[in-house]
Amino acid sequence: MNPRPDPAPTTPRTIYDKIVDAHTVRRIDERHLLLYVDRHILNEYTSPQAFSGLREHNRRVHRPASTLAIVDHVNPTAAQRVRAIADPQAAAQVDYVERNCQDFGIELIGLLDSRQGIEHVVCPEQGLVSPGMVIACGDSHTTTYGAFGALGFGIGTSDVEHVLATQTVVYERLRNMRVRFDGTLPPGVTAKDLVMTVIRAIGVAGATGFAVEFAGSATDRLDVAGRMTLCNMIVEAGARGAVMAPDARVCDYLKDRPKAPRGALWSQATAAWANLRSDAGAVFERDLAFDVAAVAPLVTWGTSPDQAVGITDSVPDPAAEPDPARRASIVRALAYMGLEPGTPMRSVAIDRAFIGSCTNGRLEDLRAAAGIVAGRKVAPHVRAMVVPGSSQVRREAEQEGLDRIFVAAGFEWRQSGCSMCLAMNGDVLGAGERCASSTNRNFEGRQGRAGRTHLMSPAMVAAAAVAGHLVDVRDLAREVP
């Protein structure tokens, strides 16, 4: 694709373009610019080789104060939290990130820290994210911060090293896409269903090369947690950035959080944030609109996040797919998932239920799930887990009594972390096990070799755990237990 030129200063610009312009240190060539990174988030599994690279070259960290490290991917989530980790490799990663943070003067939220949790849950919670910021992290779901009008994006370990050493990244300007949601969200339909609707509509490469701005009346009515779900998961359509115009809800969310600006700075900041809007007439090369009234709770049937249908639909028939490559994908996915064409999704029995992840591990998600679970029991053949997105989410949920609701129903109430979202830590699906999951990736083997993942909203996972099979949460919500 041709490079995208910088927009002329006089032309109307999008939020995305304004943020990129405000962070351009210099142009490198007609395609690349040097982009300044306001905050850099590290985790234990994509940072070790970056630090080793710095050590080998005797390089320092350019702005340790702009950097925060969090242990979240490899730590166990057993109910009792201890510093020792039985898996020697995981323990070595946790040790090495501790040592690196100490040697390079970087703040670490370690395993026993009261703020520990999944990086994309913790950073907003700590008020580290501000509208207009550029945030980089060695993790693809860094797009989450778009919910605040910040440009977050994932980078590989080489670029983690580059940001550590220079506080910049070599960057190519993306194209602008807008996704509007209008209308009234039906009961039982959540932000997760909205973003899955977009991914299904445009495909898993549909937003490659784009930054996506979410807009529209239904988007504006979403709470900040729902907005994070949208911006988080749009990376599954290939988007390397997401943004939304920050509004009063965002300010209310951030006010008085530990790392948010205070006093005079707060007033100055909020005044600037109010202007962080796409100009009238700004051009979006792709502009999509959805009426949310038509959205149903979605579930995936395949091994790619765009392979999804409404819960009242059935497993698709590959024979009906005219394109041979897509037909082959469907056949392969159904074989892996152990599903027959035409099977109603609601009849698919599950073995496991998982509520958690940076997509849906926030307090609002746990409340929605607990609302379904209250007064009901997990089906006897199902092992169900709740892994709060952070220690703070866990504490707040306990203050509300959500833990007791989950435990009474038969869920495991665990410590925070990524857990079975990517299954690096010992929380793993067995071969052939089928899981209703509030996570973001249903790839082959993602939650465990030969494990079968169905993505859906946390309330839908809760409903499936109770029913023992995939089920329409709206049916359960109608009955009083």
Binding site: T46, P48, S52, S66, T157, S158, V204, R446
Partner: protein
Amino acid sequence: MRPYTTCTGTGVPLLQANLDTDVIMPKQFLKGIDRQGLARGLFYDLRYDASGVEQADFVLNQPEYRNASFLVVGPNFGCGSSREHAVWGLLQYGIRALIGTGFASIFRDNCFNNGLLPIALPADLHARIATLCARPPRNLLTVDLVSQTVTLSDHSRLPFRIDDMYRENLLHGRDAIAATLRYSAEIAAFEDRHWNRSPWLKPGT
């Protein structure tokens, strides 16, 4: 990074769409603190069965496709997780270039940062290479970064384009961090302006 100029070897068709980095390098291989030992992890669940025995039907395990230098891949190869381990594993296995129609963007950056060429071709040229690679021993290819061409076993030469900056970096095995550190003074001056304009962005305020 070692310089890249030209490489001759065999190409393997692996055309499944949306091959994600979880499949390229499964989670159990992400736990190192160095880059070692990743050749074994490459496509682990496709190459080996649950007991660690090679699966004969997987293309890389077939005799005529062993010791491959190039993979001819399907659309959106490398989607999903940002794990650079996927690229390290491909290189350690011996793969020097990927020939596809389009790559996921974090993965593409990771390729360039490590000297693995992600070559994106128009569908018709891609299909020609895929067809030849499905007929060993006609799957011998030469990828030349200087002339930006792929030479096939029928002697035809197909052009590709690699972004100029990355091409220069790869040809000379350049250290991207050293290149940026030349602008240190500009970065510091930028920080002054940036924090003056938006003081709440300054860390620790």
